[in-house]
């Protein structure tokens, strides 16, 4: 990368097979993406296991785990009510997985030669599946609890009879767009941040290679990228939070209608 000033910001998202494997016509190789998914899983399991000793007086680690679970628990309780307790495990898995994958992609592991962090959430195939999972759970819960009455979701209370067809159409579109907006938001936010950092990272390199005029550009880019990195940490947390929050809100629609 950054050879002769040619910036290729998309290269970092390339999925490369580590263990090629083909079943019939399908390519099911063990890729960098799968490897980083496993790393995220191992980190989450390790973090949780170390804090689940159930001591009466919690240590630091247990406090951290309790803070995380309590945070999700509160969010679900506030947004869905007591009925939402069943869905806490799903929301919790969603939140921790997205948060850990986002943060893993930001780790400066590339200082070790040959190792490149890969953001699994920067691929629509991953975030799209997460979004479809949330959406299917909403649909299943909605139809399970309310049967065909679930369609009253498309007509808010107190809509004048004249407006019903229009409102129903609008609500239907906004309902069907949900899985796309959920998946797209996370994936684009991750991709945009990484492209930004890649582009300014190569500005530093080509700036300092470009003689005295370039040094200023390089130094400015360096200052800028420090700020962007801090912002990216915030975005990682916000995107994970927004994904979990929107899923709870959609679940709330399905459970309590409106």
């Amino acid at each position: 990368m950054a050879a002769e000033g040619k910036i290729d910001p998309m290269h970092q998202f390339a999925v490369e097979p580590l263990v090629p494997l083909h079943v019939g016509k399908y390519d099911v190789s063990f890729t960098t993406s799968s490897a980083w998914l496993l790393v995220a899983l191992a980190l989450i399991i390790g973090f949780m296991a170390l804090g689940m000793k159930r001591q009466l007086v919690p240590g630091r680690w247990q406090m951290a785990v309790e803070g995380l679970t309590g945070f999700i628990d509160d969010m679900v309780k506030v947004n869905i009510g007591p009925e939402g307790k069943k869905y806490v495990p799903y929301i919790f898995s969603l939140f921790t997985f997205i948060l850990v994958s986002n943060l893993l992609g930001l780790l400066p592991l590339a200082v070790i030669p040959g190792l490149h962090p890969f953001t699994t959430t920067s691929h629509f195939s991953i975030t799209g599946v997460l979004a479809v999972m949330s959406f299917s759970i909403v649909l299943i819960v909605g139809f399970w609890r309310h049967g065909l009455h679930f369609f009253s979701l498309f007509v808010p209370h107190g809509t004048p009879a004249v407006m019903v067809p229009l409102i129903a159409a609008i609500e239907f579109v906004s309902f069907m767009v949900r899985p796309f907006s959920l998946g797209l938001r996370l994936f684009v936010a991750m991709i945009a941040g990484h492209i930004l950092m890649e582009v300014f990272g190569s500005f530093i390199v080509s700036g300092f290679n470009g003689g005295p005029m370039g040094w200023g550009v390089g130094a400015l880019s360096f200052l800028f990228i420090v700020g962007v990195a801090a912002l990216e940490l915030l975005v990682c947390a916000i995107q994970a939070y927004v994904f979990a929050l929107l899923t709870t809100l959609y679940l709330n629609d399905a459970i309590n209608l409106h």
């Binding site: 938001r185 684009v188 945009a192 916000i238």
Partner: protein, 75 residues
């Protein structure tokens, strides 16, 4: 105008939407802060709605970004 230059110009025009979304996000947080300072006691309970508004405003900017990328890398 050849295809490559039209592509770059188009992607640049599409990126204007990101700036518009920035106005939206700023508006969401600005209005929240303004009212949160008037009634700090009610601020915490509205944080969920704050992030919904933020998510909605941000999504539109991200869609503009996605459109710019699609135009830029179209063949």
């Amino acid at each position: 105008m050849d295809f490559a230059s039209a592509q770059v110009i188009g992607a640049g025009l599409a990126a204007i939407g990101v700036g518009a979304a920035a106005v939206g996000v700023g508006n969401v947080f600005g209005s929240f802060l303004e009212s949160a300072l008037r009634n700090p006691a009610a601020a915490d309970s509205q944080q969920g709605r704050l992030f919904i508004g933020f998510a909605a405003a941000e999504l539109l900017g991200l869609i503009a970004f996605a459109v710019a990328m699609i135009i830029l890398y179209a063949r």
